[in-house]
Subunit: 319 residues, 2 copies
């Protein structure tokens, strides 16, 4: 594994947050930390380790501070935390997160159901979090990424107008977000739409501020959407080990894209992720042991690597 700057694509693991928050049982803190360490040891450079929501809403995330502190001690790992609001951001910063991610739902109904506020109010909250960031001393500066949820459709509203999604993204960039990503919260997105929307996002806010693509595999389109997003220049993809996870407020929307299958695809395409696939697959055992009976998804772990497979990360870089 080389330095982070030699990566072609950043795989941002969201299993410990998006995955675990959709599982009824809480994974013990020690297991979370073991899992995060194993992922980092496999070469994962960024992990969304926790969500700073009130523990009464998501008891699975009650140990967010402890998990962030432990993850923070892992070298060369960017520790990402989801924060729904300023209060969550203050907690995450105090715990030592490197980067905060805030969801802003483009669907008004989903926004009210999920965050109990309008998209406009959610954008204002992002502005407040950016002000918090700007007030921090330089050596404690954090990154702020905003993510437009239900950007490709909503189980409650159906189609979400693309102009409105882009308008929200532009407002988030103006509010000070370092990067703005798009999330297919409901698994509604298709490759043509994904390519069009990310290309438009880059034109509107600048390619350097385009954040991650967050796809769900609800209708089996997850990796197809990744191919389209790559074409549009996207460099960061969310995924979760074993494909666990989903949005508890979007009925039918279950399952992030599977990290193992994503990393295999990218490496096979010649794109360096920095991740060792064998070690990544080995980390599944930690999840299986800590949450017995919980389904783990993924084709690659069953089928195995192709004979003679040469991952991009292991190849010497052409100069």
């Amino acid at each position: 594994m080389g330095d982070a700057d030699v990566l072609d694509v950043l795989v941002s693991e969201v299993g410990p947050r998006d995955g675990l928050q959709s599982v009824q049982r809480a994974m013990p803190t020690a297991a979370k930390v073991e899992w995060i360490r194993a992922l980092a040891a496999a070469g994962v450079r960024e992990i969304e380790v926790a969500s700073f929501v009130p523990a009464k809403l998501l008891p699975q995330m009650a140990d967010a501070e402890e998990v962030v502190r432990a993850a923070r001690a892992i070298p060369a790992l960017t520790v990402l935390a989801l924060v729904p609001n300023l209060k969550g951001a203050e907690r995450a910063v105090a715990a030592g997160a490197h980067k905060l991610t805030l969801p802003v739902s483009a669907s008004r109904q989903h926004s009210m159901a999920n965050l109990r506020r309008s998209p406009e109010q959610a954008i204002d909250e992002v502005a407040r979090v950016c002000a918090l960031r700007d007030a921090l001393p330089r050596d404690r500066r954090v990154g702020v990424e905003a993510n437009v949820a239900t950007a490709f459709g909503c189980t409650l509203e159906g189609r979400v107008p693309e102009d409105w999604v882009i308008e929200i993204a532009v407002r988030l960039a103006r509010a000070g977000a370092d990067a703005v990503g798009l999330s297919d919260t409901t698994g509604y997105g298709n490759p043509a739409q994904v390519r069009r929307m990310f290309a438009r996002l880059a034109r509107e806010i600048g390619a350097e501020r385009v954040g991650g693509a967050h796809f769900h595999n609800t209708r089996g389109q997850g990796l197809a959407n990744v191919v389209a997003a790559l074409d549009a220049g996207v460099k960061t993809f969310d995924s979760s080990q074993g494909g666990i996870g989903g949005c508890p407020y979007a009925p039918g929307a279950s399952g992030n894209i599977v990290t193992e299958d994503l990393v295999f695809m990218l490496e096979a395409m010649g794109l360096r992720t920095g991740i060792d696939i064998e070690r990544l697959i080995a980390a599944r055992a930690i999840v299986a042991d800590a949450l017995p009976g919980e389904p783990l998804y993924g084709h690659l772990p069953d089928a195995g690597l192709p004979k003679g497979f040469a991952p991009a990360t292991a190849r010497p870089r052409e100069s």
Copy 2:
């Protein structure tokens, strides 16, 4: 549903052949015919209905003649039959198939194991089948498509040199095949390779002679590979209802891409397949009834269509 010429993409259903030949039990002939009729009624325009191999090798295909004759009676359906050799081609032509497809494996080891002959011998056999075609009276003329199997790698040999795959495709075109497709028999392909290989194929034999793309979903890359192939100009995709099927001689290679998920993706992308998704999904019941306990795959049938989904086929065409 309009005429075949308004399709943007042809989905060539291979379940009754590729799917059923990998299932141990034979589906009763009446159920096969009912399934083929239901698929055609849903708007599927081309179905690979049988394989003309000796019945002692594949008892599931012992009724190939009967199935072809029944399928031939369905209006607006192209009846495709797999034929391993001249003898199979003669049988398929006598039964009334519109089009023959011949596999030629690029992997020498796979070719010997699967067809008991070398790639060169298999190309010679395609030439003989083309001579048979040319000798038929005009009103009984059939199409001959050749398919390069293990074009993206082989479970026995590992990497298959891309130059060799293209060389075989060129020889097949010279031998007289009307179209030449590429098959990812083993589920080894990745989107970068798929795009590169199909683009190269079109340059070498002409875009109008590029046949179908046949992908397996062994490692979850099936639809991602379709997106890449679309970019390279491919217009025909093989898939099987419920994702049943695979190559019995390639260990670990199971499962064609799922027709339901493929059609959903294409229609969502604005590409007309002519297929009614609801009627397509309804046809699964015939397979489930005829082969109880046989696993049927697919994300869309479980998740359902997105709220407000507007398939391309149902939209008025912009002129």
